[in-house]
């Protein structure tokens, strides 16, 4: 590859903490790589593990799930379920032969615009290092 590899990353953010944190990063005009695009859900507890696999199938090179800090969930405990679920997810990915660094989970609160930038940079860096994801490649699905 002559050009530098630019990974495509899909992120699932909870509305109350991480999405608001990413908004704050915007309002504070911090700059970070444009590789990561966000899908907003109300709570990380909503994120079906299949979304992650589906994103990888659809052509994403990496996936990030980010929510409220444990204990700070707007819905009291949704992020706790997410934490357990995605801990297993990492094992499942390893089992499938997928480098588990393609999947990231972070806790970013509504006041942590600076942390959001760091998370994005870290995820983009790590996924760039591993390179493009081809394992799940299949024909485009029309939903």
């Amino acid at each position: 590859m002559s050009e530098q590899f630019e990974p495509n990353i899909v992120a699932f953010l909870c509305n109350w903490c991480s999405y608001a944190g990413a908004d704050l990063a915007g309002t504070s005009r911090t700059h970070y790589p444009a590789n990561l695009k966000v899908i907003r859900v109300m709570c990380t507890g909503r994120i079906n593990p299949l979304f992650v696999l589906n994103a990888l199938q659809q052509g994403a090179d990496g996936v990030l799930v980010s929510g409220c800090h444990p204990g700070d969930c707007h819905y009291m405990e949704g992020n706790m379920y997410a934490r357990r679920r995605f801990r297993l997810m990492k094992d499942l990915l390893e089992y499938l032969g997928v480098d588990s660094r393609r999947f990231h989970m972070s806790w970013v609160s509504a006041s942590e615009g600076g942390k959001w930038k760091e998370v994005v940079e870290k995820v983009v860096d790590e996924v760039s290092e591993i390179g493009p994801f081809e394992q799940f490649k299949r024909e485009k699905i029309n939903w």
Partner: protein, 666 residues
């Protein structure tokens, strides 16, 4: 879906906030080729009235049935544009927003990066919009009562306003008396009003108001429910005094065996009290309380031959058998006015607060000069025979404010002025005293502040620009080591009294309040408002409002103004008597639900129950969602084994197309 989606896409320039980095023309051209898109327009400010008018006209003329607005964060304007749809007769939930400002133009200065990302975000939004469904906004009755947590000036003002409007208010205060921090102050800047004189009438008002139920020495234990229908458990701590019988005579405190041996919190621990006490003479209610941590009878089980307080009490009010009492109340709105703590200067050991008794905090100074304070308002340092008036007083500003080394980067907003006020009071009490203020910058921003600061300087208060590096003792004098940064001169100034102008911090127990009400904190650890400018008293929990220093440092006028704002906002559900409930709730597909009940277990609100239905002659269990309780978090959906429960507006069928749109390699 009954009709074919006809999507209208509106790309906002946001002045140049978006247009400067995102090539709007290119995005418009891209969007017009997306499937289902009928109309694409761009406009300088979509949120303005002409911008919204564009949408309304197109809905009518072009028969649009899905709207995508590519502009700022949905957290900013989703509600605005939902209303636009509603005005044009379209279901408000046919709206999807693409966040091309906070998540794109503002964070990617390079147009080469921002424009392709904006296209993807728009494409994802259109994909989701095609799958949106109309939702019904339901309303439920709201309780016409409110709770105010915290009985300082903010809480008192909020409670009075709501009560005056005719609604029942529960005012919960954890200490034995209302009054809070303002009651501790001597005079208030810049007008030099006596704090007690303007505060105590309000304290009496809340106690006597027919619409206010005052719950002092009480703490909120548990909050359930939602806006309009909060169920709050309050624990009324045992005072060991029957407040109906206590007449506040004070015989008990005079006869207490540990009289004058316990530091009085109200006097910032400068004065002493008994184990049975009234925090200060003007306390409301004027009823005594036994301090369970210091009372000999309660801690050791023995107090001489029997508690003396009980012996001398003429009305037989003292009851050591009293137990904590739990009460439950239902309220429509909650105002959080829990106030602040002052910075603990032992975190700055260079100032020797713990080593030298004559290094004190601003709040301690406040009690020393207060007429109701332990010295009766006489400014004295040293004890007993050595007590004397200080001749050289030094003030150090910004202790625990604007100081990243202690984790407080913010300005506490009140210290410049309370220092100026205290300096003035010292000059009044000890006219020949030499008073020096060491400052970084003087921030005299409020009404009458600059004039007051000028007056104080004319009174002979010396202002030295410099942040002292150390306070140490030489012989019996304190030495303030500082560099005067205006003349670049290192100095070592003598002082008999050093006052640290400590900043304001969130309450130590703020964490408990956050957990109770699911609040957020800003990076300064104060409670976070829903929007720093447009929703300064609202929080991310509907029906919960902020007033006073719990939200951030402020002076008394600002606190009162905010308290009135919070009261007005809290009265909206109270006066309407109805509140909207979440429309984006979960829905069960009874045909595929297998009745395993996983969703009922994970639901944080216990909103799902199993019910038995007749399915073609078979009795089967299926899940049922209680729409009034469901908040639409969607946790049930991720736990469901058969994809049978789905949160509306965030269904798999709506998120999957977004994933597909974002996954495509550009």
């Amino acid at each position: 879906m009954s009709e074919k989606p006809r999507v209208g896409v509106y790309v906002c320039h946001c002045g140049i906030n978006i247009a400067a980095t995102v090539n709007v023309e290119e995005v418009v051209e891209f969007a017009s080729r997306l499937p289902g898109v009928t109309v694409v327009r761009n406009y300088a400010y979509m949120c303005s009235d002409p911008g919204q008018q564009l949408v309304r006209e197109d809905i009518e003329n072009e028969n649009l049935n899905r709207i995508v607005v590519a502009s700022c964060s949905p957290r900013m304007h989703e509600i605005t544009f939902r209303r636009t749809l509603q005005d044009a007769g379209l279901n408000p939930y046919y709206l999807e927003m693409a966040n091309i400002r906070e998540h794109c133009s503002w964070v990617h200065p390079d147009s080469e990066e921002a424009t392709p990302k904006a296209k993807k975000l728009v494409s994802a939004a259109v994909s989701k919009a095609r799958m949106l469904e109309p939702l019904e906004e339901k309303e439920v009755d709201s309780e016409r009562t409110a709770m105010v947590i915290g009985g300082g000036i903010a809480g008192i003002q909020s409670a009075l306003d709501i009560a005056d409007a005719g609604y029942q208010v529960y005012l919960v205060e954890k200490s034995p008396s209302v009054g809070g921090r303002m009651a501790q102050l001597d005079k208030t800047f810049p007008t030099l009003d006596c704090s007690a004189c303007i505060m105590t009438p309000k304290m009496v008002d809340v106690a006597n108001h027919p619409n206010i139920e005052l719950m002092t020495y009480s703490e909120v234990e548990e909050v359930n429910g939602f806006i309009g229908n909060f169920e709050v458990k309050v624990r009324k701590k045992a005072r060991y005094v029957d407040i109906d019988k206590c007449n506040g005579c004070g015989e008990c405190a005079d006869n207490c065996r540990v009289k004058n041996r316990i530091p009085n919190e109200f006097d910032a621990n400068v004065g002493k009290r008994s184990a049975i006490y009234l925090p200060f003479p003007q306390a409301v209610p004027a009823k005594f309380t036994v301090d369970p941590d210091h009372c000999l009878y309660l801690t050791k089980g023995k107090c001489g031959k029997g508690p003396k307080c009980q012996e001398v009490c003429g009305t037989g009010a003292i009851d050591f058998e009293q137990q904590d009492e739990e009460v439950e109340v239902k309220v429509g709105a909650i105002i959080v006015a829990t106030g602040f703590d002052t910075f603990d200067p032992s975190n700055k050991p260079e100032y020797g607060y713990q080593d030298y008794p004559n290094v004190i905090t601003g709040l301690e100074m406040e009690r020393l000069v207060a007429a109701s304070g332990p010295t009766g308002g006489e400014l004295l340092i040293g004890e007993g025979e050595n007590a004397r008036k200080p001749k050289k007083v030094a003030f150090i500003q910004c202790v625990g404010s604007r100081d990243a080394s202690v984790g407080n980067e913010y300005c506490s907003r009140v210290c410049c002025m309370y220092t100026a006020k205290q300096a003035h009071l010292i000059k009044e009490k000890v006219p020949d005293a030499e008073v020096t203020v060491y400052y970084m910058d003087v921030r005299a921003f409020g009404k009458g502040f600059e004039e007051f600061y000028d007056r104080v300087r004319r009174e002979g208060i010396r202002y030295v620009r410099g942040n002292p590096s150390e306070i140490f003792k030489k012989d019996d004098k304190l030495i303030v080591k500082v560099e005067d940064t205006l003349t670049a001169t290192p100095r070592e100034d003598e002082a008999d009294l050093v006052v640290l102008a400590v900043g304001l911090e969130p309450r130590q127990d703020a964490r408990g309040v956050i957990d109770l009400l699911r609040l957020s904190q800003t990076s300064d650890r104060f409670f976070m408002e829903a929007h720093p400018k447009l929703y300064p008293v609202d929080t991310s929990t509907d029906g919960v409002f902020l007033a006073g220093c719990a939200q951030g440092p402020k002076d008394i006028p600002d606190t009162v103004a905010q308290a009135k704002g919070a009261a007005a906002s809290a009265m909206i559900p109270l006066s309407r008597g109805k509140v909207k409930v979440e429309a984006q709730t979960a829905e069960v597909n009874e045909a595929t639900c297998r009745g395993c009940g996983f969703c009922t277990e994970v639901c944080p609100y216990s909103a799902i129950e199993l019910k038995t239905i007749n399915w073609f002659g078979h009795e089967v269990n299926v899940a049922e969602v209680n729409e009034a309780l469901c908040k639409g978090c969607g946790t049930c959906s991720a736990a469901c084994l058969s994809n049978s429960i789905q949160p509306r507006s965030f269904r798999d069928s709506q998120i999957m197309p977004q994933i597909a749109a974002l996954g495509v390699k550009s």
